[in-house]
Amino acid sequence: MKKTLFDKVWDSHLVQKVLNGPDVLFIDRHLVHEVTSPVAFLGLKNRKIKVLYPERTFATADHNTPTINQHLPVKDPLSANQLRALEQNAMEHQIPYWGLGHEKNGIVHVIGPENGITLPGSTIVCGDSHTSTHGAFGAIAFGIGTSEVEMVLATQCIMQPKPKSMLITINGKLNNAVTPKDVALYIISKLSTSGATGYFVEYAGDVFKQMSMEGRMTVCNLSIEMGARGGMIAPDEKTFEYIKNREYTPKGEAWIKAMTYWETLFTDNDSVFDREITFNGEDIEPMITYGTNPGMGMGISGGIPKSDAIEGGASTYKKSLQYMNFEEGDNMLGKEIDFVFLGSCTNGRIEDFRAFTNLVKGRQKAKNVTAWLVPGSHKVEDAIKKEGLLDILNKAGFELREPGCSACLAMNDDKIPAGKYAVSTSNRNFEGRQGPGSRTLLASPLVAAAAAVTGKVTDPRELMVVEIA
């Protein structure tokens, strides 16, 4: 029988099918953080049971952690309490714990791939919707709620109805200054935030084949923003090259054995998807969002769509523009901004910092802009320093903070003040997401860099030297 990549991985993890109910799916690796796990551990305590496979579980602190002075005790008592709870739970259940200051600490979806925890053909869950990131490696990876975190801690399984399948193909070549973030924002703008709800997506075509592993992570990360539980890309030479020799990847004989499995991980010719969508890479330009959900995105040179051109509720659309203090038909180019945030599980990796640095090199941060540059992990931070990016950033008036989720969800002190505009490389522009009353414009690291040095929404192509190959 012809099988999709998704079917192959799902079916090989099927423990049991419940009649007229969900599938029982075995989970290879479970990532845990401080915010969505304490109640799950409490549940285990109440049931008087232990974590079934601590060696398949990994814990890190990222969501509520400060991004300055991490060597000092965490000031906020509630955050400190959550961090303490995770540390104690990890110790009690013998789970590897990479807390603040640990060399492997960082955002959960950055450190998974970085340390070789994320492997092709595996099933990965975490109490965080951006777990879809790990699909870049050909894994089935998705976010879960706290009851499910408890479920996986207790049984290493999850009960899930099998989602429908969607294939998104993008062929052709990307234009100058169009990054993986733009590709994802483009897809979401076409599908809306609910267009892929109920589906698991596979991305295929030239654009994804040519994309780096980090770029693939950015795209898969944003799958949830169109409602999909997850997205995945078939593993290839780039994937194997990326994971080889990382700490938790199999070595020697085990590597050879794993490779024979991994090389079978592709969608068979003539497989049938429930839905197939095709776009052209050439049609995509650098993107920016103008509203209060990630589906409200547009090419940076365009105008904000009119409410009568929008499918669905005009009143919700108008409420959204009102929140942003934008008018229908406005150009986004030239709009003044106050903050720039480079970071998050979407765009907090070394390639993102390289792109940002490249553009701000030799320029100066605009005076009206506060910029928060937050690496996704200590390893990313180390690379920024080793590659000399930090010197360039410092000369251009930027400082680097310490790793964490930071202003993406503003659980720590990194909050955008009410009414202020932030060009953000993160994943959500919901009302108040980056702080009560904050206004978020989602964009790529290049668009963020262009805004950081000009103080307004600027097309990065205007600032980029065209390189002749």
């Binding site: 075995f26 906020d76 009851s147 479920m151 959900n293 509720g313 009302e431």
Partner: protein, 198 residues
Amino acid sequence: MAYDKFKVLSSTAVPLPIENVDTDQIIPARFLKATERKGFGDNLFRDWRYQSGNTPKEHFVLNNPIYSGKILVGGKNFGSGSSREHAAWAIYDYGFRCVVSSFFADIFRGNCMNIGVLPVQVSSNFLTKIFEAIEADPNTEFEVNLPEQTFTIKTTGEKESFEINDYKKENLLNGFDDIDYLLNIKSEIESFAKDTPL
């Protein structure tokens, strides 16, 4: 965690005719710092409900005393965004037992069912009728009947059936949870794990 059984619920409803209500609106991230499942209802729709101080925003539906009940009716694509189960906890803790919409985000829908809040998906036409019925009379009663899988506007008798799989239905009717089910097949899981290398 065991939860209340859900059979038949008759109640008035609170209308929230806004689309794409995301979980950051249902409960903002800064209120996710608890280590126990307590008190989340106080911060349900926090930033829609209160000014930056603690002054209630008068126009918001939860601050309007004419609306009450155990059913929350939301616009299309309810519960999108973050996987935080705290959103479902806040809805439960506030006193809702059923959320109605014409479309739900996946993770939110699952989270609700895992804690005993019933998500009822109706057609967009029927959703409009529900909003109209509440607008005409905020005291309109609705019946959510899980055994029959129907949602009824009691004043007019108009009803629509909704879908739920047999397994989840049994769970909700009896207050069973998935973890108890899985613990009962632990030996099967353990033998599966043996064949599945790290």
